[in-house]
Amino acid sequence: MTHLKTSRLPAIGAAVVYILLSASPAHAQPQTSDARSLLPTLLDEVVAQMDQRLIDAEARTRPLLDEIESQIELPELRAPAAEAVTAYDRPSDDGSAIIVEWLAPDRKAELRERARQQAVKLTDNPTLVDSLAAIVTNELFVNVTYLVQVAKSSEDLVAKSPEDLEAGLFVTIPVTPGAATRKSGNLKYFGLAGENENYCYAEIKPAEIFPPQGPEPITVQQVERFLHDGWPQDAEPSDDAIPVAAAPLQPLLDRANKGYVPQDIRDLLERVRLYARITQFVDEGVLDEEDGIRAITILVDARPEGQLSPAEKADRTWLAGVKLQLRLDRLVAEGFLRDKEAARVRDILPLADQLEQAVAEATVLAESAKEEADQAEQAARAARQAAKEALDEADDETRPQAAEDLKAAVADEKLAKAETADAKKDLLWTRERVRRSRPRQERRELDWLVRLQARLKECDDDAREDAEREINAKTYYFRLAVSEGARREYVTVDRLTIGDEDGAVSVDVPDQWLVLSASAHANAFKWFRTNTLVFALVFSGIVLCFIHVARRNPNLFLRKIAGLDAVEEAIGRATEMGRPAFYVHGYGGPGSMSVIAAINILSRVARQAADYDTRVRVMNLDPIVTAVSQEVVQQAYIEAGRPDAYDADDVAFMTAEQFSYAAAVAGRMVRERPAAIFLMGYFMAESLLLAETGASTGAIQVAGTDAEHQLPFFITTCDYTLIGEELYAASAYLSREPRMLGSLRGQDVGKAFMMVAIVLGVIVLTTAAFFAAREGHVAGWLDHLAAWIRHLFEAIS
């Protein structure tokens, strides 16, 4: 039960008291990662005590629990109701999957209810009944798994019709229901409440179940030959062979050639296919026998890359070359390669093989060299230690000699270390070293081959994607089942609709499977982003409207900003003292917000200075901004009626480099000792340097920046600081420029909305949480409102 009714003040007081009190005994702190649970970690001791009490309580209640568990009857396996099962065409953005949604029967609640019934028999403490029921539910509840069976037709093996399901032609896929998959296809967004947490969603990816067809189907003979040749007769076939050898081959191959098989078997069959082609080419004389045997030897080795020796790795690379060679004719036929290019590939492949062999050899050499160097280093270290011991034990007579020895040993060790380092580097760079030792022409050819292979892979990937898209677009029929161990329950319907649209007849059919159908299509709209769209459009409308309004009426109300009075004051003071004012720009080109704002403020400052006949010196970091500033200052003098008083040298481009800029501006500050300094724009680390130097000259400083992390420095060193957006507001306030003014007003509307949304949202949600445990009309209504608010601001990635 929450304690929200308690007033806040005692809570704060109690928190302080508790923190003070609990600061004494040392205790291992549990690490928490949740940002909001930090303060509670201070209370870990109490919690630990609570835990202990709970453990004791558990020990006392164990017999009771056992009693309940032996009595209880587990809820039976039930399939979801047919009405609550739906299949969506367009669940995924790229159109790669069908989504199935169903409302799972709430077994957990059922189980808890049964446990409660049992518990009531044992105790009459209602709290204890609740706890016991909860514990029993947790202990006994088992999640059932769901299965989707997708129909496939006997002829082309890809989904055909619902009849296939009855004929027993289907692929069974276990699905893991999760909430993550309900995205674009789901219309339940934008403030629609009432989501049931028992909804499950599963993705079915047709292209994974029925992957695109390989180039040629594999025959039983090929597999048998592979099994026969692949392993020496005396040796046991490796683990990989067993699934192939143990299963009846033909059906497996049918599935493999065009259907759903696990990845490892797919890999194995891929090797069979390659093997078949190699033997075929050996038979036809395209490959010589030696190469054929070598290829097959490499092929049957199924070890992962990491376990191979350098030479074996080189062999694998060679095999990849052979694969390419075997494809060449087809590639030429497809127009991917020209004859000349195919011939070039044939020429290069042996070179590539030679290179790989050389790399393998060099690696072995480098490895042994490194080992030797390691040993040498160890020996040298031992020698040095021995020499040191000798020196320690030496008497006066032998001491000089021992010292000499030690010196020599140290030098030796240093040398040995250097050699080890070299050997290490050598080993790391072996491949590059060998490659570099080849003639230039050869290297160029090899590079070409690498690029060709990459291009080939790209094209293959594209082709596969196209094929997958085609597969996805087909219509699939499937049914849903729930399973627990060997038991299986299908989702069934009692009524079937037969006939076409004109004469549909509804028939009673008891326990007929519910057959769903869908095809994977790509979405056209992200429904879950509807709220983003609406908010963005509304906000854009408001901003554009206000810009329009501001054009007609530039006197839109803006509150006065404290720092702005200071601008006038500062110029006034400069006039009094007869010293110049400095205006220092920050980073950014003419398009950046802060520079636009700074220029607007400059135009006002310059105008005032022109009126008072005070010089303003403007420092710039950007050449274009310099030009714009010059225009602005000149304009100010013209408006003041004194165009002749304008001096272009007052507006100077200092330099574009951060520290030179800081040094140059700081230098001028110290020399010219301005009476007022304005620092406006986006500043980085140099902010401090400028503001501190400025402060030391005794000038009034007014700063304005949207660089948040520099604000502490400005706030402490300057007399007035425009914080963040105040810079833009100040510029709009001074310039009355419609685009600034209008969008500022639009932003204010946005901010007002956000403030209201946050405050009201928190109030509603808190109230709803408070009433959550109670029954009643109000509670239900609040719950709906809270859920609606949550959905309204739900942003899904």
Binding site: S540, G761, T766
Partner: protein
């Protein structure tokens, strides 16, 4: 930082030059003594690099005394080196793989044509961008970067809304306290323990959530320009300012660590790599 010119500055300058020369010689002597570049195979690229790095580091620190010619030389050299490095890297990492290689090193004729189809127009647009250097034809470059600016703006509207506004509002609009369902324990505890439990589960989280609520709203209000800050408004804006100040303070506290660690890194370099002090 430059000092104000005074009549005494001549003598001062002489002294400074002498000190400077002394420091430079000291640096060289120390470097020679520590690194011993004489003898076969001793003078390596690495050693020269370390000494140069130490030199420029110390020159940079001379800025602490005041701006000086050595600092300016090092700084400009650095700008140049950075420029050169940047140019080479852009060539290596951008134009070479995006423009040169796909077209001129295409493995097949087919690859060349598909590369040209995919990259021809942007390459032309990229070349148009270079017209910015000419005053007369710079308008041509607008055809290449204009659309990109528009594209970026369109993207930014949606993505900023999503990331910085909606996601943040979603996090900000949370109940002060999610209901505690399990009230079974705590029945027969001492008062202190119950208080502790209450604080841990209700009091402090609610307090924190309240601070968040008040702070966020007040800061938003501070940057609200359409009403005058009077009475309640002034109070709220003041609360906003306090929150801003605390956050600036926190940022400063963090920043200190950042800046000091830069210094630590350099000191580490000077002591252990240049002076070769054993750790």
């Amino acid at each position: 930082m430059a000092q104000a010119e005074t009549p005494a500055s001549d003598t001062r300058r002489t002294i400074e030059v002498i000190i400077l020369i002394a420091l430079v010689s000291a640096f060289l002597v120390v470097s020679l003594l520590v690194h011993k570049p004489f003898g076969p195979g001793n003078l390596t690229k690495e050693m020269v690099g370390t000494v140069i790095a130490a030199a420029v580091t110390l020159i940079m620190y001379s800025f602490l005394y005041r701006d000086n010619p050595l600092f300016k030389i090092a700084e400009n050299l650095y700008v140049g080196v950075a420029l050169g490095y940047g140019s080479i890297m852009i060539w290596r990492q951008s134009l070479l793989p995006e423009v040169f290689e796909p077209l001129f090193l295409a493995p097949t004729r087919d690859a060349f044509w598909s590369a040209l189809a995919a990259r021809g127009i942007p390459i032309v647009l990229g070349l148009l961008l270079l017209t910015r250097l000419s005053r007369k034809h710079s308008w041509l470059s607008r055809y290449s970067y204009g659309p990109l600016v528009g594209w970026g703006a369109g993207m930014a509207i949606v993505l900023t809304f999503h990331t910085s506004i909606l996601k943040q509002l979603q996090a900000a609009i949370a109940p002060l306290q999610e209901g505690i369902t399990n009230s079974s324990f705590g029945e027969n505890l001492a008062f202190g323990e119950r208080l502790g439990q209450w604080l841990a589960q209700v009091g402090l989280p609610v307090l924190g959530a309240l601070v968040l609520l008040v702070g966020t709203t007040a800061v938003l209000f501070y940057f609200f320009f359409s009403v005058e800050h009077k009475r309640l408004g002034k109070a709220t804006a003041n609360v906003g300012i306090w929150f801003l100040m605390i956050s600036f303070g926190a940022t400063f506290g963090y920043t200190v660590m950042g800046r000091l660690s830069l210094l630590i890194d350099r000191v580490d370099f000077l002591l252990f790599e240049w002076l070769k002090i054993t750790r």
